[in-house]
Amino acid sequence: MSTGPSDPSPVPLTVDGLSVSYGERLAVDRLSLTVKPGEIYGLLGSNGAGKTSTIKAIVGLLVPASGRLQVFGRDVTTEPLTVKSRIGYVPETSMLYEALTPREFLEFVASVRHMDVTTTTRRVQSYADAFRLGSELEEPIATLSNGTRQKVLIIAAFLHSPPLLVLDEPLNSLDPRSVRIMKDLLLRYVAGTGRGVLFSTHTMEVAQQLCQRVGILDRGVLRGEGTLDSLRERVERGDASLEEVFLRLTEEDAGVRAAVDALGNSDA
């Protein structure tokens, strides 16, 4: 599936002033970012930074306290079904129908997405072969390993060739071979197309390899956004790795040193 001809905008994702709160706790504070056509955008942040809350608001699982979310110009709140049909989503945790087998689960997802038998079978077979899912396709999901569940979620996300992929820590639990396949696949998936990928991770190496631009989220606030070079300029370190940039922007570099020193002293 590509973007619909009637979509008001070619921009895969626009987040404008998004705030998400749980009761009195503000998890995301007036976040704005854009995923451009042909781009993998990395959303980086520590644990609890607000990455997953942002993603859940985008895929319609959370109602934002304020702000505007648009997928190809369509509002997430007012056109939820249209938006969902344009998104492929891999959640942070493998929350699946445990009593179904992967084939049954993918059949359900394909049905909901109005796919035909030939295309679905071809795609499922291709992805299953790539990820070496053999007869596991016929095992109940409850009996599968975390890595295999993650592969099933990835296949479900790619199944309808969505123009926007929203991936929340998608490489979790995957074996090195599958990680490599996934990374190459993502780069090829967006190259020269109007598709976009929002990729949440706290693994800096992966973000550095994959993402054209990154946004650094810290306690719900976007501390920095741009290409690695532009962020290096901002922290005034031309040779800094993304990890160093991240720690500098989140003002954690001194904190990390202090924590390591304290741990060293406690062991002494």
Partner: protein, 554 residues
Amino acid sequence: MSWREAFRLSDVAFTELSLQAVYAFRQGNMLPSGASKKLVTRSRNRVVQSKLVISVVLGLLALGGAAILREKALNPNLFPAVPTGLFDTAVVTGILSLDVALLWWTGVQVIPTLISAGVLPVLEPLPIDPQTLRRVSGILFFRLFDLPVLSILVVTPLAVGLALGPFAGLAALPGLVVAIVYSLALSLLTGRFFIRRVQGSRGGGGRTVVRWAYLVLWLVPAFAMFAFITTAPAFFTALGGLAAQGPSFDGMLLVGTFPFPFAALPSLASGGAAALVILSPTTEFVLAAAAIAYAALAVWSVVWLAGSVRDLQFLPNRAPAALASVPAVVRPTGAARAVLVKDLRIASRTPGYAFLILLPILDAVAIGLLTYSSPLRSPVATSLALGAVTLAALLATFFGPAFFAIEVIAYSYGRTLPLPNRSILFGKVALIACIYLIAAGLILAFTLLRLFEPWVFGAFVLAELPAVLAAALLEIGLLFRWARRRGLAITNLYAGAWFAVLVSIPGLVTAGLPVVLFSVARAAGSTFGLEVMALVAVAELALATPFALGRGAS
């Protein structure tokens, strides 16, 4: 470590179990908005409430049994062919059997939650000695049943004591203890069976059939409970025949069959063995031998339970599947049909849901066989068949909450799919209608040769169908408005019994009203009973549909 430490740890584990049972976070359910600080307290309270519901049902069964005992004492003409002592024993047999069935059924419902909540594996890597872990597992397992067990142990002796005297009440205790032990052991045994053969069963048509066959077997306790109540009068009649026949092999077999030897104790304590000697001249010997054997089995069951409960969490999966590629033909369908197929597939690996689908169908088969095999006159057979259809329609009112609960599984993932609520609603209502029609079809198939007015039967089934659809639409419409807003996962018996009961009330009224009007019209001699029934049912459907599809629901 001490028992005190085991109780402390099990309390923490039970809190987590309650939270997972009610909110199903491990199954991907979202954190409800609002006062999240009260979630833990709320989930614990909800589990207690649900246990109380089961306990009250058990208590009512005991009181009902006592009322029958009292009635026989006051009115010896009640089943006059059955001597009082034998009658009393039969009633206590019924109470004990129902206790086993209901407690076992409860275990069947809640043990999968105990496993899926994964609370004990969290404790395993901690430096806790194996004995304490075994104690924690045992306490946790027992706490699933604590209030119902307490209800059985307190209310039943009191009820029997009120009817037959204090010694009889006390004499009921050994049988109750053995019944409880057997129920818990059967729960664990079937729980293990479930994990290995049902939950872990691979996909594919042939295996699906085998899985449903397993589930039919698994429903035996619940169906036995249901069948026991419906066939009780026939049982007393048969017992009268057996008593009239005098000592026989069948009589001795009955005396030796659980729970009869224990059920005889209250009767023996209040009136002696005279009534039972009718069945076998060696009654006392058979009773004593059987009671000792069953008590020994109960002791062995306790030992087995103590050693096995902990292992329930760590049952090995089957050997890893071969990695060979298999042709994956994936056949997508329409969204509503996909919901229906998904629900059936989930039910085929989830006994709680399978129970609901199979119960009206098994009930239809049982009543169909009864009308076919017994020498009933045609009008009686017709009434029985219509009653069975009515029962199927009323049972269908419990499907709405249950099938909506399936939607809570992987709820947060499901909500990211472009699946309109309307498709979910249509899928579930279609499934409910299918079950009702299959049950009605089975009754018709069984009774066709006996019904001289099959068109009345067919018209009755079709006239009631809109009411069944209306009840399902009403319930699911209410659930969309209510349950989703509250973020509750009604995934098992202990998570939301009250919730399911409340939503079922308007459904029950909707499904029952046309039948009531039909009965009233028939009793008044009107020939328009079916027309009135159909008219009311269609009117209900016309009202329920816009409600279910309206804003806030779909």
